[in-house]
Symmetry: C2
Subunit: 450 residues, 2 copies
Amino acid sequence: MTTKFLLDESRIPTHWYNLQADLPEPLPAVLNPATHEPVTPADLEPLFPASLIEQEVTTEREVPIPEPVREVYRQWRPAPLYRAHALEKALGTPARIYYKYEGVSPAGSHKPNSAIPQAFFNHEAGIRRLTTETGAGQWGTSLSYAGALMDMDVQVFQVRVSYNQKPYRRAVMETYGARCIASPSNETEFGRSVLADTPDHTGSLGIAISEAVELAAQDPGTKYALGSVLNHVLLHQTVIGQETMEQMAMAGDSPDVIVGCTGGGSNFAGFAFPFIGQSLRGGESPRVVAVEPSSCPTLTRGQYAYDYGDTAKMTPLTRMHTLGSGFTPPGFHAGGLRYHGMAPLVSHAKQLGLFEAVAYPQKACFEAGILFARNEGIVPAPEANHAVRGAIDEAIRCREEGSAETILFNLCGHGHFDMAAYTSYFAGELSDHEYSDEELAMALSGLPSV
Amino acid sequence: MTTKFLLDESRIPTHWYNLQADLPEPLPAVLNPATHEPVTPADLEPLFPASLIEQEVTTEREVPIPEPVREVYRQWRPAPLYRAHALEKALGTPARIYYKYEGVSPAGSHKPNSAIPQAFFNHEAGIRRLTTETGAGQWGTSLSYAGALMDMDVQVFQVRVSYNQKPYRRAVMETYGARCIASPSNETEFGRSVLADTPDHTGSLGIAISEAVELAAQDPGTKYALGSVLNHVLLHQTVIGQETMEQMAMAGDSPDVIVGCTGGGSNFAGFAFPFIGQSLRGGESPRVVAVEPSSCPTLTRGQYAYDYGDTAKMTPLTRMHTLGSGFTPPGFHAGGLRYHGMAPLVSHAKQLGLFEAVAYPQKACFEAGILFARNEGIVPAPEANHAVRGAIDEAIRCREEGSAETILFNLCGHGHFDMAAYTSYFAGELSDHEYSDEELAMALSGLPSV
């Protein structure tokens, strides 16, 4: 039995929800890496248009969604909410399980929720070109899609090892008309300096960020776009949670537990923040659980400290849960969710005790995703498998406790682009990596003293 | 601007539409390959359950869709209809272009429309296992998905060369719990005989069909499932066209031209037959255009004759447009649509002059798909690119004629699983192949004399 809760498209949210308005304590300042003084909007102007900088710093509860952005959202939004009857039955749980499904976007994930407005606000500011970095390619794909629809040139620096290993993602970006360049490249000073030193360098996200930022900073017609971490990116994603709240009301149910996966934090925040805000304003207070990979355990084993956003230490310093900007996740990790830090707003909410966090090894997550696919018919992205694992474990707890709770999770994308990870799983090629305390301490020893 | 026409899920059709009820001349008989006498339902019983055989031969106009099948359809149906405003603008055409989008299914294409009922009717008949063949993997994926939801074992014989070259498709099938076997295999007598002769045989669709059929015929608990060509498969796909008719009414518009792509014929028939039936019953009569690859030009250059459905000449003889069962499309052709024959019902409708057919080389189709993606945001499957090309060329004709016609096409699937084909296109590795008359005549010289 399929129970799908679909909102009419007139119900696409008209505003993004800003958790900052409801926080009991304000977000710690972002610091200039040279002076350690709080950054000013002017510091950010070489990289972002004024409208997005305003969204980055505003504490207004509601930020209006421009009508042209809602128009594009209408291509796939409101996204469906499903009741997972078959999964419940397979688990023999008394719990009711619901999932919001963001894989219906043309890019197959939640990422366009922010790529579209970022392209829109840049275009409105007269910017003609966006630069960004991408690892596996999910964000690069989404920004390329947004660029095609919003008539912007997009230049994506893709980590060279992914560029070589994952030509299909690049093909998607090129189909959308974006330029995808292997990083380190000869197109930036920083890229050339890396290549001069190590001609066969396989690249890193840190280097790719540095190249994308360098290009944007040089040319007034070019800005930089980031797919997670920043406040305005999290803000854009709150369409997910807002729709879900209305759909849960349609279902005549309300969640006891909310589960999302975390990498940089954008899908988790977009899904959970509207619920956390409701709770902070005195409404219903479900438990909120963030699930992260135990091979990159930012929230569960990281330190809450000021750190750089990139490996090259060029970005402002933000207070966040971090494993140290020099942290490198294990060489072969199938999913995304590999960022060394965590969105400052997510980190702050964690510090305030507004949600819990758990970490899972990747094989247990693939196992959960496969059980989900066989019962619910959708093959989740490897990242989304972490949320599936978290939801299933909550449902198993309900079974053991005989507790008929309502579990709600976000399925942030489908796995159609990522079947190589499943192939590796079935071939027994994936391994789980748990860092020792010593290893983590070593990566953290390089934190800047602020 | 996005204009999406979404039906409420109560509007999922309650019946499949059977074109046979409205045809001015009945479909020619299917012949037993040994006796050349018409086949009886009993001849088909080793392979299909009675309910599907009944659907294969019925001339009733409406065949009820069982409620459990509609329940599964609800996971993604009704599928959206879009107005392609951005594409219209890019083409500078006065035409209005609409497209139905079947890529929203969990398998990414229209194929589950038939996979789900085939699994359901087999399950209802007490069958525990389905066998099938697959080339690139679109149908194998869909039947595996259906098997997972309907609690059936699925065994897919995948042409060995695809099995080796496309491990991701296999991973999808395995994620759904299906067994995917490289064909020729050691699991059937026929497979063993092929391997005994040629140990490194790369396989063919014909061999894979023979293996799947052999396994089904041997075991009373196992039946065979086919993803196109047969009447009951086309029947199941008519949910596409029925929904589209209602959505066009929502849009307050009606098509002057309808475009679909043809391989075996199932997505074309499912989309176009409800419109053709309406026309045959005295209603509106849009032009209907079938688009096929010029490298496998069944409808445009094939012969309308009795032929075998498989290369091994084991299947019944059907009257259809065929290039000869020995015809082999060029070694590297990126899309699907490679079947040597055409669905008998589609062929018969063509013979009756109920639609037109055109053929396009594959590079022109990729070019069209890329233009579509950059304007409409969805990356089409290589097969679907043929329909996109056909629709774009109709829109260009409208521009040249200054004619504000309404063009409607079926976008039968997304290309997320098939980005390797785009990679080849961008790398300049695709070539167009046009057969000479002599080459085609040679393939046709082997037609059985009936």
